[in-house]
Symmetry: C2
Subunit: 339 residues, 2 copies
């Protein structure tokens, strides 16, 4: 199909409508002073000819492309796609389109993409990180506004939007306490991870505020179900009186749920569970369905998009790290204790 017909341009429309090209532009964009009848005639001509104005030419003139780059580092898109959706919402999805660039964790590739985006004159760039470790800022002289989302830039002079992970952890723990739990343990990811640290802090803080403390040390491990299963078995052996476990991820949570069942503990009757990520396939596949802290990445994306838009319009981002709160999604795994 589409046998390379020579594109119909604004001049063709002008000829057909019997007006000048300037008039066509005005008619189609609702600018200038035109008789309604002329406007209609032009619109009709454009319609009949199937005229599609070239955003390329328009960009050349206006200097704006209504285009942004989204640099993502998680190839599965679990974090970056919600961010993209939020950003689209904020930027006006019918106005601004996004180039999605998956760096595949290769700095060289990332550099390439940044250059590519610069050449294409994107209006701005959103960098969507993976886990919330601060990341090195984009290399090279970037001449457009950049907003880092989810993973903040290591340079505090950059503009970043992050999740309030500590607050999210507190939310989880407070919920567990409200359901009557008192002996809360914490099974989480690798020691040293920024988000692991934040969650430990939030957990401790919430417990302290309630006059309690963590049951044992946090259990550091991986992000996997296997680790969750293993940790659950060990945990009930070491702390048989635990009645709630806050898990650093849904995968861990699901592993813990299985591990507890294997150890003869019932969830939530004996032990309540809360995870993090609210990742539906895992949280809802869990037995029982897993209460989870939703990082609200879409909101992160919206915020990032709004900041980027402001930066584009004003020219230049204002530095600073913006924090978005988490939400708790309650499911069966944290139903109040029977007793």
């Amino acid at each position: 199909m589409a046998g390379r017909q020579p594109r119909v341009g604004i001049v063709d429309v002008a000829r057909r409508a019997g007006v000048s090209v300037g008039t066509v532009s005005k008619a189609l964009n609702g600018r200038g002073q035109l008789r309604p009848e002329t406007r209609d005639r032009v619109r009709a001509a454009a319609q009949e000819l199937g005229f599609v104005p070239s955003a390329v030419a328009a960009s050349l003139h206006s200097g704006r492309t209504y285009t942004v780059g989204l640099i993502m580092t998680d190839h599965h898109g679990r974090f970056s796609l919600p961010i993209l959706h939020g950003a689209e919402d904020a930027l006006g999805w019918d106005e601004t389109l996004a180039f999605v660039c998956d760096t595949r964790d290769d700095p060289i590739r990332e550099q390439h993409y940044v250059r590519s985006l610069a050449r294409r004159r994107v209006d701005g760039i959103i960098v969507a990180g993976r886990r919330t470790e601060p990341r090195p800022p984009l290399a090279g002289a970037v001449t457009v506004p950049v907003v880092y989302a989810f993973a903040r830039s290591a340079d505090p002079a950059d503009c970043s939007v992050v999740v309030d992970e500590e607050g999210g952890a507190a939310l989880a723990v407070q919920h567990l306490l409200r359901t009557g739990r008192r002996r809360v343990a914490h099974v989480t990811g690798p020691h040293g991870h920024a988000s692991v640290r934040a969650r430990v802090n939030g957990t401790s803080r919430a417990l302290r505020e309630a006059g309690l403390e963590l049951a044992g040390e946090p259990w550091y491990g991986g992000w996997s179900e296997v680790w969750g299963r293993f940790a659950a078995a060990a945990l009930v052996r070491e702390h048989p009186d635990v009645d709630a476990i806050f898990c650093g991820s849904d995968a861990i949570g699901r592993g813990v749920a299985d591990g507890l069942r294997d150890s003869g503990r019932r969830v939530p009757e004996d032990i309540a569970l809360v995870g993090v990520d609210n990742w539906l396939p895992t949280a809802e596949g869990c037995r029982p369905a897993l209460t989870s802290v939703d990082l609200d990445l879409q909101q992160v994306g919206r915020r990032a998009g709004a900041l980027l838009l402001a930066a584009i319009q004003r020219g230049g981002t204002e530095p600073g790290t913006h924090t978005v709160p988490c939400r708790l999604v309650v499911r069966a795994s944290s139903a109040p204790a029977a007793g």
Copy 2:
């Protein structure tokens, strides 16, 4: 940052290097006849000035934007992201950038995106479907080549790349037979789904070729773990002698695995399991890890990208449906029966 300095253009480079703009263009693009010394001088000037050529202006001239649209309909990106990766590989990720458009399953939105892409003069469009149901072709007069990936277009005159689902099912069954299984059952998704049908067909064919037949009817249900668990329990009751189950998805497979364990059957000792999708979080989280048919979507994307590229260069796609084979990824759930 980026205090809206007036962009350095090719004329600035020309002035600095003491040559004309045409010469700068030639020097930077390695075209024309230039003294090496001139070339170097220009390159140096460009470097010093931090000149970044505008792809917008270049596109305006050449008519190509080195840009494609990727229309996706699965917001989680489980299918479309691998396709995007493959497409990038084929299109040259350092040449061509992709606008990613998530329709959120809204035809209006899709239309909007198509128009948006047309205005931006993308060189082509890839439509990445969800499950492999044929989908209605893009609405409106699309003037650039379109390739449908994963879900074929309902219009056979379009160009589509799909997975050989039937072959994939056969692969799974043949593998089960090779490990010594003889009584194979099939638990799958909703009756009527194109991919469900294809997998049933592939299953029957492979069994027939081995002189066997399916143990009972296929178990139609949903794509969820819950369905898998339920089906497993019912299945062992109704067909106690089954020694292998081919599951229509990894989620189902995982549910089946759990259901079997609950029913006191061991996987793989008593019953071997194979799933479809090779979706790591599910397949590897499964106990035991689930052997799975990998749809090789990246390959689908590569193929689609290659076809699109050819169409762009020649102007117009050649119609037809292209099929990409699946791969089997063997894990613990299908180890040979002990006996």
